[in-house]
Symmetry: C2
Subunit: 139 residues, 2 copies
């Protein structure tokens, strides 16, 4: 599958700040101050479901694990929520969200339910910097 024809879906670009690239995926930070939330987007054109990736599914699982550990170590969260949904934005993207028993929606899922409160200036920069450091991404 082609990387050269891939470009990030504009809705994902609008909702997030870029953390950087790992081997297969672009890593994004959702601009939602209530939930520490990463999104992995494999840089492969025309891919909608994980099974469309073929053998690269294994790489995606490695990157899900990497991002999950980074998020858990940074936030000391109670639970990780990991999901590939994509009913609205068909470009394959995997949500990895740190959940806590005291967060605004616990125990409900956040998709379609979060108030979408944006980070204050500087807060998301600090979150992105911490994720880059933990993921080994140069800024």
């Amino acid at each position: 599958m082609s990387e050269t024809r891939w470009s990030l879906h504009p809705q994902l670009a609008a909702d997030t700040v870029t953390v950087g690239d790992v081997a297969l995926s672009r890593v994004l930070a959702m601009n939602d101050a209530d939930f520490p939330w990463l999104i992995l987007v494999p840089r492969r054109a025309g891919v909608s479901d994980m099974i469309d990736l073929g053998v690269e599914q294994a790489t995606l699982m490695d990157e899900i694990a990497l991002a999950s550990r980074a998020l858990k170590e940074e936030t000391r969260c109670d639970k990780l929520n990991v999901a590939a949904i994509g009913n609205v934005v068909p470009q394959l993207h995997v949500h990895i969200i740190a959940r806590n028993r005291v967060d605004p929606l616990w125990p409900k899922p956040v998709w379609g339910a979060s108030a979408g409160r944006r980070y204050e200036d500087g807060e998301i920069t600090r979150f992105v910097a911490s994720m880059r450091r933990r993921l080994g991404i140069e800024s």
Copy 2:
């Protein structure tokens, strides 16, 4: 991690019909007539997040792919929704749901939103039989 100390969470048992076991996971069929819906539960005690599985995450990804292909080939769905949430039932379980543009909740996620309409007698038996055949599970 131990398989011998593992047992299926009673809430998962109450909501589903057993399809059978693959190498790592118990495969369940959710008793929800509006959505063809499988759940994979790794038979490992004390595991809540995918990263808790260690090296067996790769096996889980293989089984997610196997179940995804079975569900997609059987239903010809428009989209797969794959998620490990577990805020309510902490035992690690992965949802694999066949979604269609004409289903009752499209494009919303189903968790916490489905009406939970149960299959009529015989319907779920046919669904489970088709999944067993596609997954190579003996009945």
